[in-house]
């Protein structure tokens, strides 16, 4: 440390040194701030971009999935519609066939010999169902001729099969519009049995459906279980 006071030159040089030092410190600080700013810029930008792109990706992922599901639904609906159409076609054909049959059962009563035999058989069938001591047989008005013969024959056959006796009355009071056959009512009037040709056909239509299906359209390829 100099013991004497400084001269002018020395003062000036000290001043300059101090000024330079202050400026130097300022520049260094400024540089630090700038470097840090650039770093933060990069980090912030990357963060924002990443955040938003992830959100966008998730969004489109969802949209894609929904589109896929909609496609699957459309495909399934189309298949279903197709199946229903096939079923509808089959059902229509079937009804067509049944109405055809209904028209043709009228022919069954034309052969008198066969028809009388049929009547007897039908009456016996009815008697065996009723198992009553007294029964009234109703036939068509136009069958009045053969009705009594058939009923008597039926009563005898009934006794042969079941060993039971039955008192049979006849009444030719059914409409002539129906295709034929008989109705039975027991003595007390409480039980009716409809064995007309129309009714028989109706029952057959229902009971024979599986058989008719295979006959008309072939067996079901998708069916796995048969009793």
């Amino acid at each position: 440390m100099s013991s004497r006071p400084l001269n002018d030159d020395e003062v000036a040089s000290e001043m300059n040194k101090m000024v330079a030092f202050i400026k130097q410190e300022a520049h260094e600080k400024a540089r630090e701030i700038k470097v840090k700013a650039d770093e933060e810029f990069a980090i912030e930008k990357a963060r924002l971009v990443k955040q938003e792109t992830l959100a966008i990706d998730a969004d489109y992922e969802k949209k894609q999935k929904q589109a896929e599901i909609a496609q699957k639904i459309a495909r399934s609906t189309a298949t279903n519609k197709s199946r229903l159409e096939l079923l509808r076609a089959r059902e229509q054909h079937l009804q067509n066939l049944f109405s055809d049959a209904r028209e043709r059962i009228v022919e069954l009563s034309t052969d008198e010999g066969k028809y009388t035999q049929l009547l007897q058989g039908i009456i016996v069938q009815g008697l065996l169902q009723l198992l009553e001591p007294e029964v009234t047989v109703y036939g068509r008005k136009k069958d009045s001729g053969v009705l009594q013969t058939a009923a008597d024959g039926a009563a005898k056959q009934y006794h042969e099969i079941s060993g039971r006796e039955v008192k049979v009355n006849t009444e030719a009071s059914l409409s002539d519009e129906i295709a034929g056959g008989i109705k039975l009512i027991n003595g007390t009037g409480r039980i009716t049995l409809d064995n007309t040709l129309d009714e028989r056909l109706k029952l057959l239509e229902d009971r024979m459906l599986p058989e008719i299906r295979t006959d008309l359209f072939g067996a079901n390829e998708n069916r796995k279980f048969y009793t």
């Binding site: 300022a26 540089r31 701030i33 924002l48 096939l86 054909h93 049959a101 056909l201 008309l216």
Partner: protein, 120 residues
């Protein structure tokens, strides 16, 4: 002597002022950088979004295309099947009607299986 002193102090004060200005500029630069970050990020995000949108639109178009082709394929198949069913039906209907009519007149009177014939 006192004039020199105040001159010196003045110079130092001015130097400090300059220094503060320099630091302030740096701080302003920092603020600007942060704004830039947001602006640039947005630009990149928008570009990305557009690209994704185009991609999705193309996918959608493909989907619609495939759905239409499969739909018309199914329709054609259904039509063919209906024709086949009808042809088969016309071929076989007569036999079935005859079977039905045959069963209408088929009678087999039987005593109920739980009953026994009454012997006189």
């Amino acid at each position: 002597m006192s004039v020199q002193q105040s001159q010196g102090i003045q110079t130092l004060l001015e130097a400090e002022k300059e220094a503060a200005k320099i630091v302030q500029q740096a701080r302003e630069y920092r603020v600007q950088r942060l704004k830039d970050a947001r602006a640039e990020a947005n630009k990149e995000i928008q570009e990305y979004k557009k690209a994704k949108q185009e991609e999705y639109k193309k996918l959608e178009g493909d989907h619609i295309g495939t759905t239409q082709t499969s739909q018309s394929a199914i329709d054609k198949e259904t039509e063919a099947k209906v024709k086949e069913i009808t042809a088969q039906f016309e071929e076989r209907r007569e036999k079935v009607v005859e079977k039905l009519l045959g069963r209408v007149v088929l009678v087999k009177p039987e005593l109920h299986r739980n009953l026994k014939k009454v012997e006189a």
